[in-house]
């Protein structure tokens, strides 16, 4: 009952004209960013963070805007998967498998609207899951001391590569690089400058917003320049969309699939390091095993469209649970959302629920509202979004670059930050070429200071005894999970990733011949 009244308070906060308008704007921009190949949810949120700041929005409105973008991007990813067979973002990869064949059979409209409904169901169930699960997790988190937090941060980094990671050394490298960047600046505990090399600009550290926008948005521009596929795509108009509304029978046919995969996706999202890509992959393979008796999956089975979409949207909601309750994000985009919180001077974690309930519940209410808006937007207005796919990257990418510059310049007004951002853009491009994941770098710059502070606090409390780090059953448990989470992908990672690629390849060859 307590939860419901908090939720009602949340709706009171979210239902103002300004917040509704922001949610609408966020959903719209998010869907577009998700739909455009090359601009995923993390990119989309990263580009818009500076905007939310420079607009001078308060904490709750900024969060409403940016999480709407997050949910919107998750919806939008499917559009290019279905119409172009190019996933708009990584989680939407599995939607290509059955979505594109459906489009080829002239049922693109049905596939789009059905996946819209599936996204809605997934996100809706996940938001309820968030409401029920997050407060429970908070109760556990309140037992954490500094030593446990240090172990928890290590766990987050160890599992961030995800089960599908191919090279754990590169994940570890990225995490250490990020944490190393966070240590630049004046030491918070003793006041000595570290790694500043006498440069005054570096005394207050490297702004993580600058790093995020550079790493994600600018490196994308460089990738496009390198391949100069400025004129790729733009054949969306060739596919006829067909009827827009799914028939009631079709919806009913797919309902059990959507419900099952929503639960599965949510669990995948909550688990550290899994994220939305794994959510959609697990959902698809699970449904295929369970209901694909006639072998229609991969040939345009509607359930094959519904399953990954419900799964990835549910995982997106699930990933918010550890981010809000523990302050430790489970996926790339939630890491970027964590940056928003930190920049707004909000420390996520167990205390957030007791000290700033208006932020939490306003956000959750906004998720519900955004979800309904997205459903309403995605079915009748789908034609508009398919038009957006016609904007060629040669026009789009310069706009992305310029908006990034505007955003960062708007915050600090200094050329130095812009130069640092370009530097991060180049770094991001090189690291992407080398297959080094960027998310651990971001998470490192975000959490590095908190991690160090907890370590030093724990050891100061124990009078310099380092054994305190493994001094409680809880921390030993977290350390063992971290070790398992780091070692497991070394054994299984290649197999899983190969299977994901393999399924995609199979699909491509079967559509060609």
């Amino acid at each position: 009952m307590d939860t419901l009244s908090s939720l009602a308070d949340g709706f009171v906060i979210a239902l103002t004209w300004q917040n509704l308008l922001l949610a609408l704007l966020g959903c719209f921009l998010g869907t577009i960013m998700g739909a455009l190949p090359g601009l995923g949810p993390s990119n989309g949120v990263a580009i818009l963070i500076p905007l939310a700041f420079t607009l001078g929005l308060g904490a709750t409105p900024s969060l409403i805007l940016l999480t709407s973008v997050y949910y919107g991007a998750m919806y939008g990813g499917r559009i290019s998967s279905i119409l172009l067979n190019i996933p708009g973002d990584e989680p939407a990869m599995m939607t290509c498998l059955d979505g594109y064949p459906m489009a080829q059979q002239g049922r693109a409209g049905e596939a789009l609207s059905l996946s819209g409904v599936a996204s809605f169901v997934g996100a809706f169930i996940a938001t309820w899951g968030l409401i029920l699960l997050a407060p429970q997790l908070v109760k556990i988190a309140l037992l954490f001391g500094p030593a446990e937090y240090f172990a928890l941060f290590t766990l987050a980094f160890a599992t961030l590569g995800g089960v599908a990671s191919t090279n754990q050394a590169k994940t570890a490298f990225a995490a250490a690089l990020g944490i190393g960047l966070a240590t630049v600046g004046v030491d918070t505990q003793t006041g000595v400058p570290r790694f500043t090399f006498g440069e005054v600009h570096l005394y207050d550290g490297i702004d993580f917003l600058v790093a995020i926008v550079g790493l994600f948005a600018l490196s994308e521009v460089f990738l496009f320049l390198e391949h100069r596929h400025g004129n790729a795509e733009a054949n969306a108009s060739k596919v006829s969309v067909g009827r827009l509304m799914p028939s009631f029978a079709l919806l009913k046919y797919c309902t059990p699939t959507m419900l099952r995969t929503s639960l599965l996706g949510f669990v995948a999202g909550v688990l550290p390091g899994a994220g939305a890509s794994l959510g959609s992959f697990v959902s698809y393979t699970f449904e295929k095993k369970l209901v694909d008796k006639e072998g229609t999956f991969g040939k345009g089975d509607p359930r094959g469209v519904a399953a990954p979409e419900a799964g990835n949207n549910a995982a997106a909601g699930g990933a918010l649970v550890p981010m809000l309750a523990l302050g430790v994000p489970g996926s790339g985009t939630t890491a970027v959302l964590l940056a928003v919180l930190l920049a707004l001077n909000i420390t996520p974690g167990p205390l957030l629920f007791t000290q700033q309930p208006d932020v939490v519940w306003g956000l959750i209410a906004a998720l519900f509202i955004a979800n309904f808006m997205l459903l309403a937007m995605n079915i009748p207005m789908i034609g508009l979004f398919t038009r957006v796919l016609l904007v060629p990257p040669r026009i789009l990418m310069p706009i992305v670059a310029m908006v990034s510059f505007v955003g960062i310049y708007g915050i600090s007004g200094s050329s130095f930050d812009l130069l640092v951002m370009v530097g991060f853009g180049v770094l991001g491009w090189v690291l992407r070429k080398l297959d080094v994941p960027l998310v651990p770098i971001i998470l490192g710059t975000l959490l590095g200071n908190a991690m160090e502070n907890n370590l030093r606090r724990a050891i100061t409390i124990s009078n310099g005894d380092w054994a305190v780090l493994v001094g409680s059953p809880l921390s030993i448990g977290l350390w063992s999970l971290a070790i398992i989470g780091f070692v497991l992908p070394i054994i299984f990672g290649r197999v899983l990733k190969a299977r994901m690629r393999h399924m995609k390849k199979d699909e491509e060859s079967s559509t060609i011949d």
């Binding site: 905007l51 420079t54 607009l55 191919t166 090279n167 050394a169 590169k170 570890a172 490298f173 995490a175 250490a176 690089l177 944490i179 190393g180 240590t183 030491d187 505990q189 003793t190 006041g191 000595v192 570290r194 790694f195 600018l218 521009v221 460089f222 320049l225 390198e226 391949h227 100069r228 400025g230 004129n231 040669r394 026009i395 990418m397 310069p398 706009i399 670059a401 310029m402 510059f405 505007v406 310049y409 708007g410 007004g413 050329s415 812009l418 130069l419 951002m421 370009v422 853009g425 180049v426 070429k433 080398l434 297959d435 991690m451 370590l455 030093r456 050891i459 100061t460 009078n463 310099g464």
Partner: protein
């Protein structure tokens, strides 16, 4: 081969980072851990990861040919110039030039790209400055 070079660079980075951590001047008032210990742990992780990458490299990525590499380098140069000249030249002028350059290099026709660049610049100025009230760089002409 790429990964070997990458691992070696990473190792040097780790060593340099550890060295920079060791020369941090400690203040006389310090906690039990001090400002050096955590960076040294991170340097160790960085070094070990680099060593692993060096010893067990992945297949090399497909590096762009020299002209494409030059393309990226020129774009970086354009962005650096943009960052430095933005406060001098003002937002509209600098952005129009930079956006024209980028869209031209991504494959627009020369005349078209000037048009697209100007439209991008004016569009962003209208949305961000006139509608949203963001303060953008003021040049000699006041915009």
């Amino acid at each position: 081969m790429s990964d070997r070079i990458f691992g070696a660079v990473g190792l040097f980075l780790a060593l340099g980072y550890a060295w920079a951590a060791l020369i941090i001047e400690e203040s006389f008032l310090s906690d039990a851990v001090g400002p050096k210990a955590f960076p040294l742990i991170i340097a160790a992780v960085l070094g070990l990861a680099s060593l692993a990458i060096f010893l067990k490299p992945d297949a090399a990525p497909e590096w762009p040919s020299l002209p494409r590499l030059l393309e990226v380098a020129l774009a970086v140069l354009a962005m650096i110039l943009y960052a430095i000249l933005l406060p001098e030249a003002g937002f509209i002028l600098a952005t129009a030039v930079a956006a024209s350059y980028l869209t031209w290099r991504l494959g627009s026709a020369p005349i078209g790209s000037v048009l697209i660049g100007c439209l991008t610049s004016v569009g962003i100025y209208a949305v961000f400055h006139l509608v949203l009230g963001l303060s953008l760089a003021k040049g000699p002409f006041g915009f």
